[in-house]
């Protein structure tokens, strides 16, 4: 079957909402509230939020594990309520669970069958994925003896069965040691290079900042911010340091009066201001006093600071 997926959003949600019901049918608080989001093909999108913010609910909705209470979601133009939408998805759940009595080879073979691959395709898939994820040495071991890192590698291999165009990863680095995290990070980057679209949730903000093209932040089920990391962080400059040379004492005193703080070092005269507008005024003043600009340093907030600010609803 041929799937035409060019020029299409990999993920498109419109007012996607979910309210769970208890066993007795009672409605619980809203888990996801009116999510409208587009993830473009070939981009790496980081989905952030605190525990219970609605990240896993969104992922489950995209993968067809739960049904939306309101709204719609499309994967490459296909409604997520249709099974065809799942042909292009590779899903790695948080703490992936597999049949404990199977070996990695049998596990991949099983998922290959579910994906509709024939015997030759499944054998080729095992060869490719076992090499990529270093599963060869544990090919005949039962999953029940696996460490967290080994399970995560197997989970990644399962997600890649059938060569999906979109990878949906729920907390792929959760609970891993630094080496494990690094290997998953490298895998994600490799998938990005292979032109796959990657949508993943994570608490490890450093990794998100390194890997993602764009991010979205969920707060209590609502998408409060989304965009390119660079653009989002650009908005909030923490301070600017202007280093100038060739200034007389009088000029240093005058310009220092305009800055939050000032000092002199071997590199020159340092003027620290809280924003870019004031920094521009300092630069103009330096030039007006016959000085020269040695360095201009902008200190922006980290993704972690930004994330915390969004959570606390600070401007």
């Amino acid at each position: 079957m041929l799937y035409i997926v060019a020029d299409m959003d990999a993920i498109l949600t419109e007012n996607l909402s979910k309210t769970y019901r208890s066993q007795l049918g009672k409605r619980q608080p809203v888990s996801l509230d009116g999510l409208s989001l587009a993830v473009r093909e070939n981009e790496v999108f980081g989905f952030l939020g605190r525990n219970g913010a609605g990240k896993t609910t969104t992922i489950k909705l995209l993968c067809g594990l739960i049904r939306p209470s309101r709204g719609k979601a499309h994967i490459f133009g296909e409604d997520t309520r249709r099974k065809e939408s799942r042909r292009l998805i590779g899903y790695l759940p948080e703490n992936p669970y597999f049949y404990e009595y199977l070996t990695p080879r049998e596990t991949l073979d099983f998922y290959g069958k579910l994906h509709g691959l024939n015997a030759a395709e499944r054998a080729a898939e095992w060869k490719k994925l076992s090499e990529m994820l270093d599963l060869g040495s544990i090919a005949e071991q039962r999953v029940r003896s696996f460490s967290k890192g080994m399970r995560q590698r197997l989970g990644f291999a399962v997600a890649l069965v059938g060569d999906p165009k979109l990878l949906i990863l729920d907390e792929p680095m959760s609970g891993l040691d630094p080496l494990g995290r690094r290997s998953i990070r490298e895998l994600i980057l490799r998938m990005r290079d292979e032109k796959k679209t990657i949508f993943f949730s994570s608490h490890v903000l450093g990794d998100v900042q390194q890997i993602c093209d764009r991010i979205g932040i969920l707060v209590k089920g609502k998408l409060t911010r989304h965009g390119r990391i660079q653009d989002l962080l650009e908005e909030h400059v923490q301070l600017v340091e202007v280093i100038a040379a060739n200034l007389g004492d009088a000029a240093v005193a005058t310009i220092g009066g305009m800055a939050t703080s000032a000092r002199t070092s071997e590199a020159g005269h340092h003027f620290i201001v809280p924003n870019l507008a004031l920094a521009n005024d300092i630069v103009k003043a330096v030039h007006a006093h016959g000085g020269s600009l040695a360095e201009f340093i902008t200190v922006r907030e980290s993704l972690e600071d930004y994330f915390m600010r969004v959570q606390e609803d600070r401007p």
Binding site: I66, K83, N95, F98, K113, L114, V158
Partner: protein, 253 residues
């Protein structure tokens, strides 16, 4: 293909988790226990062995069908193994049917193995194993498939404990449907009688599948009756599996 993959995996789980070995051990122990009963029933040893063997196949089969069956789908949700399965391009009914057929394979192996051993044992004791004995085994298997379809339905809806209680109750009532229509006279022209009559047709009639007494006593049973009972079981089972698929279709996992 997908249904078969899930079925094969369900069967493989039972084999690897040693469920089969335990059942076969208990089945054979019960079969041999029938020998002891045979000793105290002078001249009726063969009859007792046949009766006891068929009863043990039925009892063990029903225990597997209820206790394994009611956790079939529930366990996959509880252990979260279902996440990576139904996010594949497969319909949910394929998963439900796959789990059911995996159980059917397991019960087929258990029934077949215990039946063959029982038949061999009867032959060793010098008894005759006729068609009725195998008809009885076949109908026990049909009954087990029907009980499993009930278990699969409740496994998609509720917890294994509650499911097991409900299915066991249905099993007990299904063996005593006669009392729903053989009512005393004072029930005549009452709404209760009408209600019980409706229930008679709704509740599965498991006694249709019980020809164990005939098999033990070498009383011939018409093939037509066996076929009719199988068709009854197949129709009922198909309806229950359709219901289980519908129940699972919109379930949040």
């Amino acid at each position: 293909m997908r249904i078969l993959a899930v079925a094969h995996n369900t069967f493989r789980e039972a084999v690897r988790d040693k469920v089969l070995y335990v059942l076969v051990f208990f089945g054979l122990a019960t079969l041999l226990g029938s020998k002891a009963l045979g000793w105290i029933s002078i001249g009726q040893e063969i009859k007792i062995v046949k009766d006891f063997a068929l009863a043990s196949v039925s009892v063990f089969g029903v225990l597997i069908a209820i206790f394994v069956g009611t956790s079939l789908v529930y366990k996959e949700i509880d252990k979260r193994t279902i996440y990576t399965i139904i996010c594949r391009p497969m319909a949910r009914y394929e998963f439900v049917l796959g789990k059911y057929f995996g159980m059917a394979m397991l019960l087929g192996v258990v029934t077949g193995f215990m039946g063959i051993v029982a038949a061999g044992y009867v032959a060793v004791l010098g008894g005759k194993v006729d068609a009725t004995f195998f008809y009885a085994l076949l109908l026990i298997y049909c009954e087990l498939l029907m009980v499993t379809s009930f278990a699969t339905l409740f496994s998609s809806l509720t917890s294994p404990i509650l499911g097991a209680i409900i299915v066991f109750s249905i099993y007990v009532v299904g063996h005593a449907t006669g009392i729903l229509v053989d009512l005393p006279e004072h029930f005549d022209n009452t709404s209760m009688k009408s209600f019980l009559e409706i229930m008679y047709y709704v509740v599965p009639n498991f006694s249709n599948f019980n020809i164990r007494a005939e098999a033990a006593n070498d009383v011939p049973v018409a093939l037509g009756y066996v076929v009719w009972s199988m068709v009854y079981g197949a129709v009922y089972t198909a309806m229950l599996l359709a219901l289980a698929s519908v129940a699972f279709e919109n379930k949040d996992v």
